[in-house]
Symmetry: C2
Subunit: 400 residues, 2 copies
């Protein structure tokens, strides 16, 4: 039998996926599970999107342009303009989800063995894409005590070697919910400029910024236009994760030309998703206002509930729909498995994401979990009651 | 400005794409172009597919399982059973088009620097995916004189080095339309077994086999079950290229487990495409019979018309909807460009794919073009008249 590739052996399996068999077994036992483990919102996709797909009336589901349907690429520039991101249609390539935008950006920018610095905890799949591109992630820990603020620029500088080719962030952050300030981003800009690095920014949660705090895009930073690559997705914006529509955006013509070659090799992004996404650009502002109001209520409830639990600490995030909580447990991987395998309260339990999967420093996040507040308030209330009960009963509690 | 990756620099640009600006300019001059250059069929997508998407009534476009919607994976096993390919749902991963199946297979099987042997001419994007995975293609020329039959196994054997990790074929073939015989495939099987290689087979045109010739899948070959990976797509089967639904199929559990990790990193294949594809499994046989009858009529017309032209030679393919023709021209890249830039007949011209893009041996295919007979008979007739006129007028004709 031929041997699989080294890359395939090293490819990380998601720590959340490891829990799936335990969740399935719990369901078979009739236990209701509150899924706080994944960023799959329960919010309805806007009618603009769904009706456009329904009424598309195409007779042949043809390839689109490799960079995406031209009318969509043109129209989406207006969307970005509302965020003061000024691009034209040649500066955007529509991708198959944000995932493909990350994969293409990595292949376009980095050679095998190149290093990129990413503040951790970070979106677990960055590990997968860097492994697929043989790129080495140099993590820099942002602490829960600081609410996951950007570590001091000096700490980044310490990690820079001749192999360093880029910096990558997620803003607002998954899994932290942290929203970077203008001055934090300006610090990164100066560093990027000084060392002439690529600056990749995953900003798929820009619709979810709270408390009147300002969303600052890497595209707003001046003087590093050729360094910046914006990675985007409609998955969260329109609650359309399954549409698989994202975007790679840059003013760097060499990068766009390279990215287009990778895009051409895979022919085109999905046609139906693009049809929906283009129409969804006309979604009324009220949709987003309602969604935001809903998420703020959920966040406020969850953060307060968590911090009331003895031994729990959870900083209040200003963006996205995640938070990272520190729990009074010996090991959050074990705790999350125990929740599914050995626990229920009134035949209910919660599924959480162990935070270890979001760190690449071994041992980091061992007491933390990520909670996605993507359920309605009533379910979130039941979920928090379950969690409280579980923490009281868990044999590996560190409270006593 | 930071430097793009070596991979991005080396990534081949499609020779067809290079012609696009000339085609656009011709259109602006009011010239009608018959597009024989790409495999985008003019056949309607079946109603089973389109209606399922229209009537799906989903309220949230959610992520599907990373391996694809479970009911679809189960049901598709019945489709394969009709072709005597016996798999269960754990042996199939639904991919984002056949393209992603190729990309994931390459990443799962091969290390950078590993070599795979591919008979040429081959589907041009294999170059792109091998470049993206740093895999080295060792081409082996199949000649137009033999109708693109498989080269003798001894010729393959000569190319095998300690770096050789796999063999890849497309059957029925794009761009040749050649359908491999059972004995040709058994020859490859023996070779694969002897050297314990991976055997990747792209069989997306299995619905398009003509003249009563037998379709033999790599999945029918016994004794190499752990070596074989079947790469598939619904793009041509249902004329649904833009749905971006394909499949990676193998009995090798290590490969399936590796492939799933790559699939998980990109979350899921497109939801709407899967909904359509699952429903399309119930497309009545009459749809495929009509389509096949249509393609046979087109093929018969095109091949006869081509071989009647002085100096043209085109073997008759038994599958897919392509043929490769040798033309009496100095250079088919130049000729294809000239067709768009300097020629028209009654304000019409044809766009062809220069065959050089389907060879990786430098200079090979310089007198050949690929013709996709994806237009209706009336358009094909006009296109062939255009081509005949063009060959009479082309300054680089080799006839005199």
């Amino acid at each position: 039998m031929p041997k699989i590739s080294n890359k395939a052996s090293q490819m990380p399996a998601s720590p959340i996926r490891k829990l799936v068999p335990f969740a399935e077994a719990a369901k078979k036992r009739g236990v209701k599970i509150f899924h706080l483990n994944i960023g799959q919102p329960d919010i309805a996709t806007p009618d603009t999107f769904l009706n456009a797909v329904k009424n598309s009336n195409i007779k042949i589901v043809e390839y689109s342009h490799s960079a995406g349907i031209e009318s969509y690429r043109k129209k989406i520039c207006g969307y970005y303009k509302n965020y003061n991101i000024n691009i034209d249609s040649t500066e955007v390539i529509i991708t198959t989800g944000g995932s493909e935008a990350i994969a293409i950006a990595m292949m376009s920018c980095f050679n095998p063995g190149d290093e990129i610095i990413i503040p951790e905890p970070f979106y677990a799949n960055y590990n997968g894409f860097s492994c697929a591109s043989n790129v080495i992630i140099k993590p820099i820990i942002s602490s829960i005590e600081s609410g996951f603020a950007l570590p001091p620029i000096e700490e980044f500088e310490k990690l820079i070697t001749p192999k360093t080719k880029g910096i990558m962030i997620c803003n607002p952050g998954n899994p932290t919910g942290y929203l970077y300030s203008k001055s934090e981003l300006e610090g990164l800009r100066d560093l990027v400029k000084k060392h002439d690095l690529f600056f990749l920014s995953d900003e798929v949660y820009r619709e979810f910024c709270y408390d009147g705090k300002e969303y600052v895009s890497v595209m707003h930073l001046t003087g590093i236009e050729n360094n910046v690559i914006l990675l985007d997705s409609i998955s969260k914006r329109y609650s359309a994760c399954g549409a698989r529509i994202g975007a790679l955006i840059s003013k760097n013509k060499e990068i766009m030309s390279a990215a287009l070659k990778f895009a051409q090799a895979r022919l085109s992004p999905p046609t139906f998703g693009q049809i929906g996404a283009e129409a969804a650009l006309d979604t009324p502002p009220s949709y987003f206002e309602e969604v935001k109001t809903e998420y703020i209520a959920r966040r406020d409830f969850v953060i307060e509930a968590l911090n009331k639990m003895p031994g729990v600490f959870c900083p209040k995030p200003s963006g996205a729909f995640y938070c990272i909580a520190k729990l009074p447990v010996d090991n959050s991987d074990k705790f999350c498995q125990w929740l599914l395998e050995d626990f229920n309260f009134n035949n209910q339990t919660v599924m959480l994401a162990p935070a270890t999967g979001f760190y690449s420093t071994p041992g980091a996040g061992i007491h933390e979990v990520r909670i996605a507040y993507v359920l309605n308030l009533s379910d979130l209330k039941s979920a928090m009651i379950c969690l409280q009960e579980a923490l009281n009963k868990y044999p590996g509690s560190t409270l006593i």
